[in-house]
């Protein structure tokens, strides 16, 4: 025992180095595993506060493009408003579907897109009802899924994250596939398991399918390239995102009221 202590004192630098390096490794590995991730993240009061300050300065430079985006969104909503004919009748029929989703608006205060595992920070947290595993979209398409929340801030696993897997489908045919990112180009994501039975062509729109995180039909992107592989029965497809992930401002967080119910049901089904 004494000798061990003497050894440690003699090599204190080496021991310290190994200790700190292992600590860093553990933090890294924790960050790489998907759902239990990050003891350390920017959804805390201190870093969130700093990013908020920085963002309030940056915002001035983006006022113009943000205004344009809002105007476009307004136009789209107006066209929806003018085009609705008998939606009231439909609504009364679909009463079970009433208030399945709630949408709240917030802002990206820290964007990141140059890593393999990109994580964004939002200026909305538990106080206004943002919880982990809620979907995040903006007017052009999907952005990601909320990962961690604090009182006033939340982190989001961006769609540009190699860990991300989001259910999607081809808009016109209901063939499902899972969206992932290969870490190469910020403008493109990949679908690796689209069945060969699906008839797809370049330019087809990919939207989200109904899932725990997202309602059906939120645009993701358009098919850019289709690779066929003779060994498997699946297409690999490059999807060009509608969103410019390098330029994000206001976003919407979607709360699914039925999420708990669906999860419980699925858990029970797996157990039995």
């Amino acid at each position: 025992m004494q000798q061990i202590i003497i050894y440690i004192f003699k090599n204190s630098t080496k021991v310290l180095f190994l200790l700190l390096f292992t600590l860093a490794l553990i933090l890294t590995i924790q960050n790489h595993s998907y759902h239990r991730s990050s003891v350390i993240n920017s959804a805390n009061k201190f870093s969130g506060g700093v990013y908020e300050k920085v963002n309030s300065v940056n915002e001035y430079f983006l006022l113009k493009s943000e205004n344009e985006a809002l105007a476009r969104e307004n136009a789209r909503l107006k066209s929806l408003l003018f085009n609705q004919t008998d939606s009231l009748i439909q609504n009364t029929k679909k009463k079970w579907n009433d208030q399945m989703y709630e949408v709240s608006r917030c802002k990206v205060i820290q964007n990141s897109y140059n890593n393999f595992n990109n994580i964004l920070t939002l200026n909305a947290g538990k106080k206004i009802g943002v919880e982990p595993e809620m979907g995040v979209i903006n007017h052009q398409g999907i952005i990601g899924v909320v990962e961690k929340t604090s009182d006033n801030y939340a982190t989001v696993v961006s769609i540009l994250n190699t860990k991300n897997q989001i259910n999607s489908k081809v808009k016109h045919s209901n063939h499902f596939g899972i969206i992932s990112w290969n870490g190469k180009n910020t403008g493109y994501v990949q679908i690796t398991d689209l069945p060969r039975l699906a008839t797809v062509k370049k330019g087809d729109t990919i939207v989200t399918s109904q899932s725990l995180y997202f309602p059906e039909g939120i645009p993701i992107g358009a098919i850019d390239k289709i690779y066929t592989d003779n060994k498997t029965n699946y297409y690999t497809v490059d999807v060009r995102l509608f969103n410019d992930m390098t330029n994000l401002g206001y976003v919407y967080v979607i709360k699914n009221y039925h999420k708990q119910e669906i999860e419980n049901l699925q858990k029970e089904s797996i157990l039995k």
Binding site: S12, T13, L16, F17, L20, F21, L23, A24, L25, I26, L27, T28, I29, Q30, N31, H32, S37, S38, I40, N41, S42, N44, F46, S47, V50, Y51, V54, S112, Y113, N114, N115, F116, N117, I119, T121, T155, G183, K184, N185, T186, T246
Partner: protein, 168 residues
């Protein structure tokens, strides 16, 4: 609290702020970022305790990780660089670097160049390995290391040039 310590504290905050606010947002050609905060480790006073250097560089890396959402990659690579620094000093400035009191700002010569390049390459390689965490993307790791290292090197030379005390 000597003047030397104050300078180190100042550098800690200075490099940390610059990294979070500016250098991590450059994204040249989409993904190339410089990480000049490693100058904190490289320019640490030579005589001071190695344990102290290890702890401060770990803290610097960790605070960066908190802000950049990167787990522990900056902490890990900073600690590695702090650990390897002694060997690089020996390699670049000769065996008895301690006695001839190396002055980093004296003049920019080939010894300083090799010291910087070794340090930057170690740090960046470790960082990108930890970030990507798989050997399947080995070319991507090497490419990122190469380009980011060059970028960091240029910025570092700029910093050293700026920090050079003016001669009277």
């Amino acid at each position: 609290m000597t003047q030397d310590n104050l300078i180190q504290i100042f550098r800690f905050i200075f490099f940390w702020l610059l990294q979070v606010l500016i250098f991590s947002k450059i994204n040249l050609f989409g993904y190339i970022n410089p990480y000049p905060y490693l100058l904190f480790m490289l320019l640490f006073p030579i005589g001071s305790s190695k344990n102290f250097l290890l702890i401060t560089s770990f803290l610097l890396g960790l605070t960066l990780d908190v802000f950049l959402n990167t787990g522990g990659i900056h902490a890990g690579s900073s600690v590695l660089l702090a650990w390897m620094r002694e060997n690089y000093l020996k390699f670049s400035f000769g065996l008895n670097y301690q006695y001839q009191s190396v002055k980093f700002f004296e003049k920019i010569n080939s010894e300083l160049f090799s010291y910087l390049l070794l340090g930057i390459a170690t740090h960046h390689l470790c960082m990108f390995l930890l970030e990507i965490f798989s050997f399947t993307l080995v070319f991507s790791i090497l490419a990122r290391t190469l380009w980011s290292s060059l970028f960091t090197f240029v910025i570092c030379i700029g910093f050293i040039q700026l920090m050079k005390p003016t001669k009277k």
